[in-house]
């Protein structure tokens, strides 16, 4: 799963009294930081890309949630918003982009096409039926064709809550 991480050096934790408490506090700060600054990858495929840009624009302003910094290079991004139809010719580029992103990375599947192929599910020979079919673990699904900008903002909030509630596996 894309979200759980293993904390390096967490095996020494039990030796310190109250280790659990210290970790919990620092984990909250890390999760808050990861959630508060989700830098999306500029990755528009089709009609949903226009709604993603409108979300980034002044009226809906995704920057209020700290994720207004649209980085073009996958190296500096945290969340990949797959906005649009995934086609056969495009799928391995998407997979390569996902692999190029540094680790705590999340994926938002925006629009019905990214979730399940949408209205191009039947009779289409060149559409991949959703992001899962490409082999990318998706964290938040934003339904709609195209989803309204408020819906995408809600998706970002859901992702932030999901990050905040993740318990790092202390194993």
């Amino acid at each position: 799963m894309a979200v759980n991480e293993r904390i390096p050096g967490s095996e020494y934790l039990e030796k310190f009294p109250g280790g659990e408490v210290i970790l919990a506090k620092s984990q909250d700060v890390f999760n808050w930081a990861k959630g508060a600054s989700l830098w999306p990858l500029t990755f528009g495929l089709a009609c949903c890309a226009i709604e993603m840009m409108t979300t980034g624009a002044s009226h809906f302003d995704i920057d209020r949630f700290g994720s207004g910094v649209f980085r073009a290079s996958p190296r500096q991004c945290d969340v990949m918003i797959i906005a649009g139809t995934i086609c056969v010719k495009m799928q391995d580029s998407i997979k390569r982009l996902y692999d190029q992103m540094p680790e705590p990375k999340y994926v938002i599947a925006m629009g019905n096409c990214a979730i399940s192929g949408g209205i191009f599910y039947h009779d289409s020979y060149s559409v991949v039926k959703g992001a899962e079919a490409v082999g990318i673990p998706v964290d938040v699904y934003v339904a709609g064709c195209p989803p309204r900008p408020e819906n995408l903002l809600n998706g970002i909030i859901k992702l932030q809550e999901k990050i905040r509630s993740t318990k790092a596996r202390v194993t």
Binding site: V88, H122, D123, S124, Y125, S126
Partner: protein
Amino acid sequence: METAIVSKSIQERFPDAIVETKPEWICLKKEIFTPVLQFLKTGHLAFINLHCITAVDRQGSVEVVYHLYSFEHKWMLTIKVILLDSDLTIDSLTSLWSAANWLEREVFDLFGVKFTGHPDLRRILNPDTWSEHPLRKDFKRDGFIPRPVR
């Protein structure tokens, strides 16, 4: 400006070029196809704009359809050529209009019609590794889910 006038002027120059003339379109023979279009473009009819090339799979033969437009006479002409499934080749029009380059590549990609003389005939929309031609009526491919018709 009627199709009849166009077919009459073609008839004068190329007597046996026309297979059939309909009010909407003219069907030409495949053999002497390029000289007729050369005349249409450079002649007094001035069809200088190749608007669109497409094809229709008639299960046994493929109809390649050309839409030419003349700005002077403000008239859209439709020209058809019937190709039997046995030899799906026709000579390319890239020498006359550069617009034909991409349009012919698309027809090749979706129908398998080979355009002789095309500078760079490869698939334009589908991945190059494919062998099937999707818009043929007998198109089968795994992962292609037809809609259950009620």
